[in-house]
């Protein structure tokens, strides 16, 4: 198994798809000669040509909208929104069009489309290069949302997303791009969308997270192990569909649940998980479900203290988990 970082995992998976399936193409801002602003598609233009590596006009609605038409016509477009913060102009195309294509045509047309986008903070990205967008799309039936955090999960889930017959929003936490390294299986590797992963098993409380915070939560749990506290850590990987089975099995074992995410708390992913667990496993719980999330402010600021105040440190996570275990 090769060891690589998250950027390389995205790159190699895209490269495999372009090599293996002539229906695939990549379109977005600066994906060609520049090779994407994070250099994910570097060299692709030379290898696959300008018809399959498309530097689009600077217009997100049509990046997604044109990709929808391609998908309806049988191609397998992989559209890129340069930063998740820039996805708002494409909101109608994603929510009003892509997510409803199959439904409104009674299955006559499908929309096998992947929209990749880097999201998340901790990189001094300020108001418009740091947001989390998953909750805005979480409410939408017809759309799948995936946010893997490790190189192997990226390979497995990006492959699944590209092969999926329905639209998938594929979120890449930009701080993990070069920070996170790991082993990646060789050859074709697919992880089914909708399956969470128990990254660490434990008995005293369950922590559910995803993205950058899945790594910090795992680190916090490992620290607590030295204090004799046994914590189970679940990385959601797929945000929608939600892996109810894995979450409920864990909560029924540990009887306590803490959800940690970077996106702000109100109406976030944690709210839905909390509601689901309360409906399904209330009598198995020994403590109220808790959420440790971003604050309800428009975004994290550019100044370091503003960013640090928004982001949740591993220490804060460890303390919240400690309190949950002690409840």
């Amino acid at each position: 198994m090769a060891v690589m970082n998250n950027v390389d995992a995205v790159r190699t998976t895209l490269h495999d798809a372009l090599t293996n399936d002539p229906r695939t193409l990549i379109m977005g801002e600066d994906v060609g000669a520049r090779g994407n602003v994070f250099l994910i598609t570097k060299g692709f233009l030379e290898e696959f040509g300008p018809e399959r590596i498309i530097d689009t006009p600077l217009a997100e609605a049509s990046i997604v909208g044109v990709a929808i038409g391609m998908a309806m016509e049988g191609l397998r477009p992989i559209a890129e929104i340069q930063f998740a913060d820039f996805i708002y102009p494409a909101f109608n195309q994603i929510v009003g069009e892509a997510a409803k294509t199959r439904y409104r045509s009674n299955g006559d047309y499908t929309c096998p489309l992947v929209i990749r986008t880097p999201y998340g903070g901790g990189v001094r990205g300020a108001l418009s290069h740091s947001v989390s967008i998953e909750a805005l799309f979480y409410h939408v039936p017809g759309l799948k949302i995936v946010a893997p955090s490790t190189p192997a999960d990226i390979k497995g889930l990006l492959t699944a997303a590209i092969e999926d017959p329905d639209p998938v929003l594929f979120l890449e936490h930009k701080k993990t791009y070069r920070l996170v390294k790991g082993e990646v299986p060789e050859g074709r590797y697919v992880i089914p969308i909708g399956k969470a992963d128990v990254k660490k098993s434990g008995t005293q409380a369950t922590v559910v997270s995803y993205g950058l915070y899945a790594h910090q939560a795992l680190e916090a749990a490992q620290r607590l192990e030295t204090e004799g506290i046994s914590i189970e850590v679940i990385d959601l990987r797929s945000i929608r569909p939600m892996d109810k089975t894995t979450i409920l099995a864990s909560v029924r074992k540990t009887r306590k649940l803490l959800i940690i995410h970077e996106d702000n708390k109100f109406g976030g992913i944690g709210a839905e998980i909390s509601a689901m667990v309360t409906e399904e496993a209330f009598f198995d719980l020994d403590a109220p479900v808790k959420r440790l999330c971003g604050p309800d402010v428009p975004a994290m600021g550019y100044a370091l203290p503003l960013e640090e105040e928004f982001m949740i440190s591993t220490d804060r996570m460890a303390q919240a988990i400690r309190e949950m275990a002690a409840f």
Binding site: A67, E73, R102, Y109, T110, K144
Partner: protein, 342 residues
């Protein structure tokens, strides 16, 4: 009905069309008007909740439909396009099943009437959101180009109000940058529900926008099916042979209110609407073919009877069909099984 090209035709330039093709145009126009009227009748009878008419657009839609190559081109219409979709293979029964929201409707009773979809006819599924379909049309055209499927083109239509949307601009621009095989046809009836063109744009002709994209713009009289056919045919042929996109503007008039839920007396004079009836394309074109000797009164009566019979049959069949069942609410959200109450 004459079977060969009439020698007596001097009043019109038939643009190479045979008598049969000219009669096809007339029949499409009559059929569209008949079904439009049926929709309003059924609504007023309380049998269907909503209908929307294309009355006044018949000529340009018949002409564009004749220029469309079935089994080859793709049509991405907007909602006021009944004659166009009928002309490419959406049937009267498809339309009536849609009006009655029957299980047999192409959308399974999900969509409003006039939100056509029919993949086997090359008819792309659309939503109600203005101009949201145009990037899709561009994507289909891009696929044709990528796969080197020369000889195929996309015909995408919209009203003049759509040209205010960002996605209209983005689609024109993307198509021009990539020199795609697509024809954008604006059915300019001068009013978007109630808002006049003068409040949408500070120009008279929509095609004045085309040069800004590096794209040719061609204007035609949308009340004339032959002129519209010739204009759209030339643009489609150009697209099919690598000539890139064209913006066509077909000027017309909307005789009916926006829909059965609209009352156009609140925003325009019905004296003006009545005055426009002098240019109503259906009687004008009928008279043109009569004067040219391509049809006679009996032939016109037979055509009218045939479209009425077809409409009645479609109405009776669709009315006898069942609603889309409640259980179908849960199908086709994703491929395969889906649990909607997770």
């Amino acid at each position: 009905m004459a079977k060969t090209a009439s020698k007596s035709l001097t009043a019109i330039d038939r643009q190479g069309l045979s008598d049969d093709q000219l009669i096809w145009l007339l029949r499409n126009m009559l059929l569209q008007r008949q079904i439009d009227n049926r929709g309003f009748q059924l609504n007023r009878q309380g049998k269907i909740p909503f209908a929307l008419g294309s009355e006044g657009h018949e000529a340009l839609q018949a002409g564009a439909a004749l220029a469309f190559a079935r089994g080859q081109d793709v049509l991405v219409p907007y909602y006021r396009d009944l004659g166009l979709v009928l002309g490419v293979g959406f049937t009267p029964l498809d339309m009536l099943n849609s009006m009655f929201a029957r299980a047999e409707d192409q959308s399974g009773g999900r969509q409003f009437p006039n939100h056509y979809t029919k993949k086997e006819a090359g008819l792309l599924s659309i939503s109600s959101i203005i101009a949201a379909h145009l990037p899709h049309a561009v994507g289909v055209a891009y696929a044709f180009k990528l796969r080197k499927e020369t000889g195929r083109a996309v015909l995408a239509t919209f009203g003049e109000g759509s040209t205010s949307q960002g996605e209209w601009h983005e689609s024109m621009n993307f198509a021009a940058v990539h020199h795609l095989p697509i024809v954008f046809m604006c059915e300019n009836n001068g009013v978007a529900i109630s808002t006049p063109q003068s409040m949408q744009m500070n120009i008279i002709d929509v095609i004045d926008k085309a040069p800004g994209y590096g794209m040719p713009g061609v204007i035609c009289d949308g009340r004339d099916p032959i002129a519209t056919y010739a204009t759209v045919k030339a643009a489609l042929d150009n697209a099919r042979t690598g000539g890139g996109p064209t913006l066509v503007e077909a000027k017309c008039f909307r005789f009916l209110a926006h829909s059965t839920d609209d009352d156009d007396r609140t925003y325009r004079s019905h004296d003006d609407v009545r005055a426009e009836r002098a240019n109503d394309p259906v009687p004008v074109f009928t008279q043109l073919l009569l004067d040219a000797g391509i049809v006679d009164d009996d032939a016109v009566a037979a055509l009218k009877k045939s479209v009425l019979d077809e409409t009645n049959h479609a109405t009776d069949t669709a009315e006898a069909n069942a609603f889309a069942p409640a259980s179908s609410l849960y199908t086709h959200v994703f491929e395969g099984a889906y649990e909607p109450w997770l």
